[in-house]
Amino acid sequence: MNRPRCVVANDLSSMFPENKSPGLTAEFGQHLTGCQSALYAFITTLLGGVEGASDVLQETNLALWKKAAEYDSSQPFLRWAYTFARFQAMAWRQKQARSRLVLDDRLVEQIAEEITACDSGQERELEALHHCLSKLPQSQRELVAERYFRAESVNDIAARRERPENAVAAMLYRIRRVLSDCIRITLTQEAQG
């Protein structure tokens, strides 16, 4: 995984004597900051949607913060953080009506394993996404803006465009696939220098 780009010697715990958590180092903070979008994506995937994802991320952050001393810095941070996120996601799922969940428990475990096994380290993915958005045709950028930047529901977009809801959902699906391919290619090209 990507290592912190700048080395900071501060020990956060020395500034928070009452925290009694000696693992709260500058490096830990750097890891936590750097993996937020990756954790959010992981949680969203396990939940099968964004509903509850930010709450689960908060609970995960809190758990990581409390368990900072247990982090073995020789191990990938994100993989360690995933175990906490997975636990919190499962806890959230248990409070929901099962029929509303896209994945069942077995699938959640299976997918979580597969993500953890192929952890790519997503710190650069947001930059790649930004680049890839700029390459979309104008009509697709507008649809992305409506759905994500204006946070409109597909129902509202479909009503305004006078298109079936499923047709709009399919358009968004195809745009996400284009973006996913573009992000993968961009990161591969970067890695190859």
Binding site: P4, V8, L12, F16, P17, E18, K20, T25, A26, G29, Q30, T33, Q36, S37, Y40, A41, I43, T44, T45, V50, E51, A53, L57, Q58, N61, L62, V102, L103, D104, L107, Q110, I111, E114, I115, Q122, E125, L126, L129, H130, L133, A145, E146, R147, Y148, F149, R150, A151, E152, S153, D156, R160, E165, N166, A169, L172, Y173, R176, R177, S180, I183
Partner: protein
């Protein structure tokens, strides 16, 4: 990876948008269990979905850049939830930056905070008492309206380049641009020392300042506080009674204690767009709930409107979290196409098609309210009309009307559009004119108030799913 099959694509696309029924979800699960490639496609879709949400800044249910949050006092005093997500990012980021950030000890459950460093404000000798426009700090006159100087007269033609160390206005309004690029409007009576192109000292009067991008760090000094601009449009009103009012219309400012100016000292407060405070002689801060405005940027008041034609006198809420500094902005005659709907947001009121908004609504007094969250179910808003009038509530028509609205108001049947403006970060601009942009339908309800007076409104209806939970808008015209 093999190409995902069409059925899977259709099912997943629908499930991601909440359009799939139970049977479809079960079919989707079966496909996912059987095919690793489809699970990879599921991962790719949700990963980009989450990254787009993150990139758009809508994570956490907010649909836009953070606005002042309204939290009832009882909730604000005893936080029930872990610290906000942004807190985590700020806390973690602060550890990573340079290693010289200052931390203040906090309880384990509370957030560590970064102590900001104040700009060093040097002691500056009092300016000489001189007539206006003697050699001093240079400025260009942009507009002058009925200016009466305390001593003598001067020709304030627009475009004239003058220099002064002090401006004393008995009356009128003077708007000028300093060489730093900051544009300052002074409304008399006022007494303003021009110390340099980045620093004014105000003994009395109302100033509205737009510093643009080139004059960040611009300072307005009063007896009670130093107001340091961080790239913004803001107003300062220094009263003879010994207080300073600071109102932020765009961007943000920092307030520093005038009595404790020292290198490294943090600000008393940071105000963002839509916030206003009064600083008294003891440097105590208090919320200013209402800011009344006219049609021009510099026509504002924190003491209620003095305009005899104004219909709305005040808007007050029951939400008083400690440290709350948001205000309701009342704009006389402000309802028109492209009128800004909410404080600190780019959303606008527009007619839903080219025919425009109802003609009887145009020119009404407008209240810029706040977008609220689900935490504000207990909201009570008391609107007071200064004269007989009709009060309009503009409310999202896609939700059932709340009981308080049905009980006290009548639906006019007319609708306007709320333009769901894209975030600044999207690079997209807000559409102009009626019928343009992404318009959500808002119904116009009305209540005639032949005696004027006050009416108490409730919370906007709670909204489920991912639709934005819009606050309602308010407007009023005279009967």
């Amino acid at each position: 990876m093999s190409e995902p099959n069409a059925e899977f694509e259709r099912l997943l696309a629908a499930a991601m948008e909440g359009l799939a029924d139970e049977a479809q979800i079960e079919t989707l699960r079966t496909l996912l269990r059987e095919d690793r490639d489809l699970r990879a496609e599921y991962l790719a879709q949700f990963s980009v979905h989450a990254l787009l949400q993150w990139h758009a800044g809508t994570v956490g249910g907010e649909t836009e850049a953070p606005a002042p949050e309204l939290i009832p006092m009882s909730n604000a005093e005893i936080p029930a939830r872990p610290p906000a997500l942004l807190w985590w990012l700020a806390a973690a980021a602060a550890v990573t930056v340079l290693g010289v950030v200052l931390w203040r000890a906090q309880p384990v459950s509370g957030p560590p905070r970064i102590a900001r460093q104040a700009p060093v404000v040097e002691s500056i000798p009092a300016p000489a008492v001189q007539p206006a426009a003697v050699p001093g700090v240079e400025f260009e006159v942009l507009e002058a309206a009925q200016v009466v100087l305390s001593e003598g007269t001067l020709d304030f033609r627009p475009g004239a380049r003058l220099a002064a160390s002090r401006l004393q206005l008995k009356a009128g309004m003077l708007r000028f641009r300093l060489t730093s690029g900051a544009v300052v409007a002074v409304r008399g009576p006022a007494d303003v020392a021009l110390l340099d192109a980045m620093h004014l000292r105000v003994a009395r009067g109302r100033l509205t300042t737009d510093v643009g991008d080139n004059a960040k760090g611009f300072v307005i000094e009063t007896a009670q506080a130093n107001v340091v601009d961080l790239g913004t449009k803001f107003g300062v009103d220094v009263a003879g009674s010994g207080h300073t009012d600071v109102v932020v219309f765009q961007g943000k400012v920092e307030l520093f204690d005038r009595q404790k100016v020292q290198p490294g000292a943090g600000p008393m407060a940071q105000l963002i767009e839509g916030e206003a405070v009064r600083v008294d002689g003891e440097q105590q801060l208090s919320r200013i709930a209402n800011v009344s405005s006219g049609q021009n940027d510099e026509d504002w008041s924190t003491d209620g409107t003095t305009d005899p034609t104004a219909v709305i006198a005040s808007v007050r809420d029951n939400l008083h979290p400690a440290g709350a500094r948001y205000f309701y902005r009342i704009i006389r005659g402000g309802m028109q196409e492209d009128a800004q709907a909410f404080i600190a947001k780019r959303h606008e009121w527009n007619g839903r098609d080219a025919s425009g908004m109802p003609p009887w609504l145009i020119g009404a007094d407008l209240v810029q309210t706040f977008g609220t969250g689900k935490a504000n179910a207990g909201l009570e808003l008391v609107v007071t009309l200064a004269r007989p009038g009709v009060l309009y509530v503009l409310i999202d028509d896609r939700n059932p009307p709340p009981a308080w609205l049905e009980k006290q108001f009548a639906n006019t049947g007319a609708k306007v559009g709320l333009e769901n403006a894209p975030q600044v970060e999207s690079g997209l601009s807000v559409a102009r004119g009626p019928g343009a942009g992404s318009l959500a339908p808002f119904a116009v309800w009305q209540r005639e108030m032949p005696e004027g007076g006050s009416v108490t409104l409730g919370a906007p209806p709670a909204v489920s799913g991912n639709r934005p939970n819009w606050m309602y808008g308010l407007a009023a015209r005279a009967l």
